[in-house]
């Protein structure tokens, strides 16, 4: 028994040292080269949820289309230089993009989800009320009306600058597109031809819609002028290689500047340390030696949990840290239950050794039962967090609280018992008042 306990003590020590080596330094770790992963709210960055409009898509091919969208978005994000971008599908028609640590302009942000499908429109008095509106310009092929858009472009658009320093985006139509364009521009000579992206007119560098007047019939080759060099270049790239198969709409967006996030890392470290110290102080003041042992177990607990965060890895958000700090307060519950039992056993006149053993075995059912409700709540919160767009913090909270409570069941029981057993038979064991508060009255 004695020997076995010494052995367990050594095992615990080894685990503790390993955990510490995984954790420190926080940036990389001696044993584990990856740093702690911080969520959006802690290191800044961008989270976007897109909803794809799959209404025009053939049934059965939705998943394939959505995979295509993910691939295009991934290609567009790669040049931004985000170290750990996450692009994933949610549900049937959503795509979640998380770009931690990225500082991005609004223009760049909009480019990520743009369809890059340009449509040509003409002005028509559709209601015969004298006002003309932009409507899709169509031509006829084999007796079928077809809209003219950039899906008829060949993948060889390019940007160039002419003698007057105008920036030109040059494109070439394929055969069908050339035929449509010929019909439309023949009809529209002297009229304006508008260029639209979705329902929005394309704006030039001067902020005005690009809607040139048709000078001559255009069949195989055309150009768009008025864009900035930067805009024209990106558009050209997207037209050539990265056109989205379906339009996307941003239904959720969260942007956090890195400066705001970095404040919270320090604050949460402070909150965690102070929370831990307060709990330890209380435990030692109230439960004396067992309280000090429980405090050791608590440090051990914090080390293992943090090491697990790094190993799994768990992306830490503010809410996740909240869950972890909360679990510190709840972790000592098991110890409180046990120590109260030990107190009762000591009051009943047992020796320290048998009081400790009885305390642990009798408190077990209460410890088990009291953690089950927390696990139920964690499971439900995890589901909520993973099913809603703004749910990342809730999910983070569920994960860290679950891990925290699970680890605490081990540390509060195994670690505390092992260390407490070391006291049995020592000189201190006779002084029962060191092991339990308020024994005096019952002597």
């Amino acid at each position: 028994m004695r020997r076995k306990n010494v052995f367990t003590t050594l095992v615990i020590l080894v685990i503790f040292i390993l955990a510490a080596l995984v954790i420190f330094p926080l940036g990389e770790g001696v044993l584990f080269s990856r740093g702690v992963e911080l969520g959006l709210d802690l290191q800044g960055g961008l989270r976007l949820v897109y909803e794809a409009d799959l209404s025009g898509v053939a049934e059965g091919s939705e998943e394939e289309i959505l995979n295509g969208v993910v691939a295009v978005i991934t290609n567009r994000i790669n040049p931004l230089g985000v170290s750990e971008p996450q692009i994933e599908k949610q549900g049937d028609n959503r795509i979640i993009v998380s770009l931690p640590g990225l500082e991005i302009t609004d223009v760049e942000k909009e480019r990520i989800g743009r369809t890059a499908l340009l449509e040509f429109r003409e002005l028509k008095d559709t209601d015969n009320d004298g006002t003309r509106e932009w409507v899709t310009a169509t031509g006829e092929i084999d007796g079928e009306a077809k809209a003219l858009n950039s899906s008829y472009f060949k993948d060889n658009t390019f940007v160039t600058v002419d003698d007057f320093n105008n920036i030109l985006l040059i494109f070439e139509f394929n055969a069908e597109g050339a035929e449509l364009s010929r019909q439309i521009t023949t009809r529209l000579i002297g009229e304006q031809l508008g260029i639209f992206e979705g329902d929005e007119p394309m704006l030039g560098e001067d902020g005005r819609p690009i809607a040139p007047t048709v000078q001559s019939v255009i069949s195989d080759r055309g150009q768009i002028t008025g864009l900035s060099l930067n805009e024209a270049t990106t558009l050209s790239q997207q037209l050539n290689a990265g056109r989205l198969p379906v339009p996307l709409e941003v239904i959720y967006e969260q942007t956090v500047s890195p400066t705001l996030g970095s404040d919270f890392v320090g604050l949460s470290l402070k909150a965690g340390t102070i929370g831990l110290l307060l709990v330890m102080l209380f435990m030692i003041a109230y439960y004396r030696i067992p309280g000090a042992v429980a405090s050791l177990a608590l440090i051990f607990y914090a080390a293992i949990t943090l090491a697990l965060f790094k190993l799994i890895p768990v992306t830490l958000t503010l809410a996740g840290i909240g869950g972890f700090i909360l679990s510190i307060g709840m972790a000592v519950d098991a110890n409180v239950l046990i120590f109260e039992r030990i107190k009762e056993e000591l009051q009943a006149g047992r020796t320290l050794g048998s009081a400790i053993e009885a305390g642990f075995s009798r408190a077990w059912s209460a410890i088990r039962d009291s953690n089950i409700t927390t696990f139920i709540v964690c499971a439900i919160l995890f589901w909520v967090g993973s099913s809603v767009a703004a749910g990342a913090p809730v999910q983070g909270f569920a994960v860290t609280l679950f891990l925290g409570v699970a680890v605490s069941m081990f540390t509060a029981i195994v670690v505390t018992r092992t260390i407490l057993r070391l006291f049995i038979g020592s000189r201190l064991a006779g002084k029962k008042w060191l092991f339990s508060p308020f024994l005096g009255g019952n002597k």
Binding site: E253, S257, V279, D369, T373, I376
Partner: protein, 300 residues
């Protein structure tokens, strides 16, 4: 030994007053919904120079955001809540503000479109229902070996409802001066309170069962009181350690998890109270058939 059970009607009176207060607050001022559930945009800006909040409000109204809610969060820092805006709309709003007030930085921006808000609200409701069912199943299981498990389960649930009403009600009351809005983190807090409340009650009930087995002939009220006193230190100590860490969260982090911390803080305190004074005392009332005293209009 302290006689807690003997004072049960005083505690009930306190609970009733508290619950009434909460229900009145909910009925009159209600809860303010955050953008998670009602959709909208939350924009946090920091101007390099001092700007008066009235001017910001005025300028926002000029720009078509007459209903925007503006809060000062620091020197030259503002939190603006308005209807859902896409990136383009937000960008033009920022340009307009910058033209008027000079340079500024965007600290954060969150936009929730109505479709997302609806789904979030739906799932939050499903979560609360699922948690209730899960807890009911757990209670049935936890009390399977008790005599009259139905009574124990019902009293535990009564305590649970008590706690949730108090958390939501006090949140509504505190929400008026502190400008608190219900968001996902608040729901998270409420669910955590549900878990906490039940496990507190279960531990007290567990002791009642044990004492009953050991003293089969003793008076039930005495057994309950003895069990309460024996578990009192545990309830208070665990409650205290939990409250300590929540205070640390509240004071040092605040921000996005503030609502969670507030909910949890209220919940832990009422959870301790209800497991002692509501759940167990109700059990005694049931055993002694004292409904008449508790609810004068009920006939035995």
């Amino acid at each position: 030994m302290i006689d807690l059970i003997g004072k049960r009607f005083k505690f009930f009176a306190f609970s009733v007053v508290l619950l009434l207060l909460c229900i009145i607050a909910l009925a009159t001022s209600g809860l303010k919904m955050g953008i998670d559930f009602s959709s909208g945009s939350l924009l946090s800006l920091s101007f390099n120079q001092e700007v008066a909040i009235e001017d910001v409000r005025q300028e926002l109204a000029n720009l078509g955001h007459g209903k925007a809610i503006v809060q000062v969060t620091g020197e030259g820092d503002f939190l603006i809540r308005t209807f859902a805006m896409d990136t383009g709309e937000k960008a033009s709003l920022e340009v307009a503000l910058e033209t008027r007030f000079g340079e500024m930085a965007e600290l954060s921006f969150e936009n929730v479109e109505p479709v997302i808000a609806r789904q979030t609200a739906n799932n939050a409701i499903i979560a609360v229902v699922a948690a209730s069912i899960g807890i009911m199943l757990y209670i049935t299981w936890a009390f399977r070996r008790m005599p009259r498990p139905f009574r124990y389960g019902t009293c535990a649930i009564a305590a649970l409802v008590h706690d949730v009403v108090v958390v939501v009600g006090l949140f509504a009351i505190l929400g008026i001066p502190l400008n608190l809005e219900v968001n996902l983190m608040f729901i998270t807090g409420v669910l955590a309170v549900i878990g906490y409340s039940v496990n507190d009650t279960v531990i007290v009930f567990d002791r009642i069962r044990e004492n009953r087995l050991n003293h089969p002939n003793a008076d039930f009220a005495g057994i309950v009181n003895k069990s309460l006193v024996e578990t009192l230190t545990r309830s208070l100590n665990t409650g205290l350690t939990t409250v300590l860490v929540i205070l640390a969260l509240l004071l040092f982090i605040g921000s996005t998890i503030e609502n969670f911390s507030i909910a949890m803080f209220i919940g832990v305190v009422t959870g301790i109270y209800s497991s002692i004074f509501t759940a167990s005392a109700l059990l005694v009332v049931w055993e002694r058939r004292e409904w008449k005293r508790l609810l004068p209009w009920v006939k035995d």
